[in-house]
């Protein structure tokens, strides 16, 4: 076989391997069967109705939105402030802090989960929304920092100096120049924080009580215990959400002004 054909074949197989699993789950969301199998005998919205009408699923969706929202706000505020602080050259300490803030991304979730369960129980926060929001924020913060610090690094220091030389006080420089230029980074950081919270299962297992069961946690137990097409319909929501969020991020990014020159 000529090299070109082999390459094209390999590329096609790889794209199929990467994408097909995401696609095959979508039609199953609309099955009218109680089984999660192909071929789909008929189409219906019954499993989306299930998500809305079944207490456990509805509650899980609401919980995910509450916890995701709380995580987004907390992680974005903390991460953005810290990124602004880390802009200043802090010899040694700066690098140490940056590494420290990145570590939650690396530490195995189960290990962190054990420690959090011990600590949060100790603080009397076990099985509360606050506990889950705190846990999710810890692992969402690195994404906010990467995103915001990236945006801040893209700002030419001289643009801020220029504003100062034109008569803008430090507060005005921040409000009129730094913040607007960092905004796309802050927004995509917020989106990533929300996505992280939405997808989190392991920490949730450790720190959430039955009342804080999130959609991801609910999917996890459903797959484990009594597999139902409701999984496919919630996965459908996840994928549609991902596409919408991804499009939003891209829109924000493309609206972001490119540095002049």
């Amino acid at each position: 076989m000529p090299v070109k054909t082999v390459q094209a074949l390999f590329a096609a197989l790889m794209v199929a391997f990467l994408i097909i699993p995401l696609i095959v789950i979508l039609p199953l969301a609309f099955t009218n069967s109680a089984l999660l199998v192909y071929p789909v005998p008929g189409w219906s919205m019954r499993w989306f109705r299930e998500l809305v009408e079944n207490d456990a699923w509805r509650r899980a969706i609401v919980n995910s939105l509450i916890i995701g929202g709380g995580t987004t706000v907390l992680a974005t505020v903390l991460g953005t402030l810290a990124s602004l602080g880390l802009r200043q050259r802090l010899p040694y300490i700066g690098a140490v802090l940056r590494t420290l803030f990145m570590l939650p991304m690396v530490v195995p979730a189960v290990v962190l989960g054990i420690g959090m369960q011990i600590l949060l129980a100790h603080l009397g926060l076990a099985n509360t929304y606050a506990a889950v929001i705190i846990a999710h924020t810890v692992i969402a913060v690195p994404f906010v920092i990467i995103s915001v610090a990236g945006a801040l690094a893209g700002i030419d220091k001289r643009v801020e100096l220029a504003a100062a030389s034109l008569g803008a006080s430090p507060a005005t420089v921040f409000r009129r120049v730094t913040l607007p230029l960092a905004m796309p980074g802050v927004l995509s950081g917020a989106v990533l924080a929300f996505a992280t919270s939405l997808d989190e299962v392991v920490l949730t297992i450790f720190v959430a009580g039955p009342n804080q069961r999130t959609l991801a946690r609910q999917m996890f137990s459903t797959i484990r215990e009594n597999i139902s097409p409701a999984i496919a319909s919630s996965a459908f929501l996840f994928i549609v959400g991902t596409v919408v969020i991804g499009a939003l991020v891209l829109a924000v990014r493309s609206r972001a002004p490119k540095a002049a020159a």
Partner: protein
Amino acid sequence: MKKRVLSPRMGAFLLVAPLFFFIALFFVWPLASVMKQSVSDTAVLHILPKTAEAMSDWDGESTPSPTLQQALIDDLRAATDEQATGDMVRRLNSAQSGFRTLMAKTIKAANEAREGPVDLLEIDKKWAQPQYWKAISEALSPVTDRYLLASLDLTRDASGSIVSQPPEAAINTAIFSRTLWISALVTFFCVVLGYPYALLIVASTGWKRQLLLAAVLLPLWTSLLVRTAAWFMLLQEKGLINELLQTLAFINEPLALIFNRTGVVIAMTHVQLPLMVLPIYSVLLTIPKNLMPAAASLGAHPIRAFWRVMLPLSFRGILSGSLLVFMSALGYYITPALIGGAGDQMISYFIAFYATETANWGMASALGLVLLIITILLYAVYERLSATRERSA
């Protein structure tokens, strides 16, 4: 003259402070408690504080003094938390068999007498044997290495020296090597599939490159749980793969793809593949396009040119991709839990099992600590690698 309220550095510290305290409290502290749990052993000390005090006067051989005996009785009378008492008994029994019945008897007797002295030797002759007191004395120490030793399948024998666990109790090294093996397999498949794929992305242009990149990024952005659920549906006995193969009459019996090692490795490779492709891709982008033609013009056969030019230049990308994949594969919990069988569970599963099912925090923490140390070491190597890349760039 200077009206500056804050130096820029002070301002920076103030901005970083909230996150710093948040992370210190909710990230560093939990990990520190894991470390502490892994060496802490307060089940006995918690119930027997007075005994601990009186024990310091005991010579370790003679029959304990009435004061010590009375301290034990007082402690047992004061113990109201049944679960904690149970923990204490279990802990003692694991050090010295016979404690379970002995303690049950003694607690009953102590509570029946309500108050006043009780002669322990009257309750049970065993209290005259120093080994029981010795076991209590040793178990009173708040620090222990037995969980950490156990996580490596080691224990201390009667004389206190470190020996291997008896084979029937030695399961942890098997779990660790299984975890390392699955992670290595996944890393291997990611390299084998990811490196040529990254080369293809770089070699292609226009919409083809966009498509190839999108195929990597889309799974990366999709929820891990959704991807695992998707593989669950694909791999199950009546899943799409088996149905398809049977319809095409390639096979008669459905293949066993789920609840076994094959399924776990397939699903994990799919999930981890973007983590391999992207670092390699970004390194490949920095390699000038004209190097391969240059090598060819200097008389190198394409395979030789690849071997001598492309591979060495992209090796760093392969290395950081591999570290990233291996490192995050080690901590996997969800995918093996949903796709794997009993024999495919990785270390995280057992950590969670000890913590949530048996409330054995010491064991869970010790295993967690080992996993944490391995991960952090790998991360340090990875960081070093990317730091040198930044410097050389």
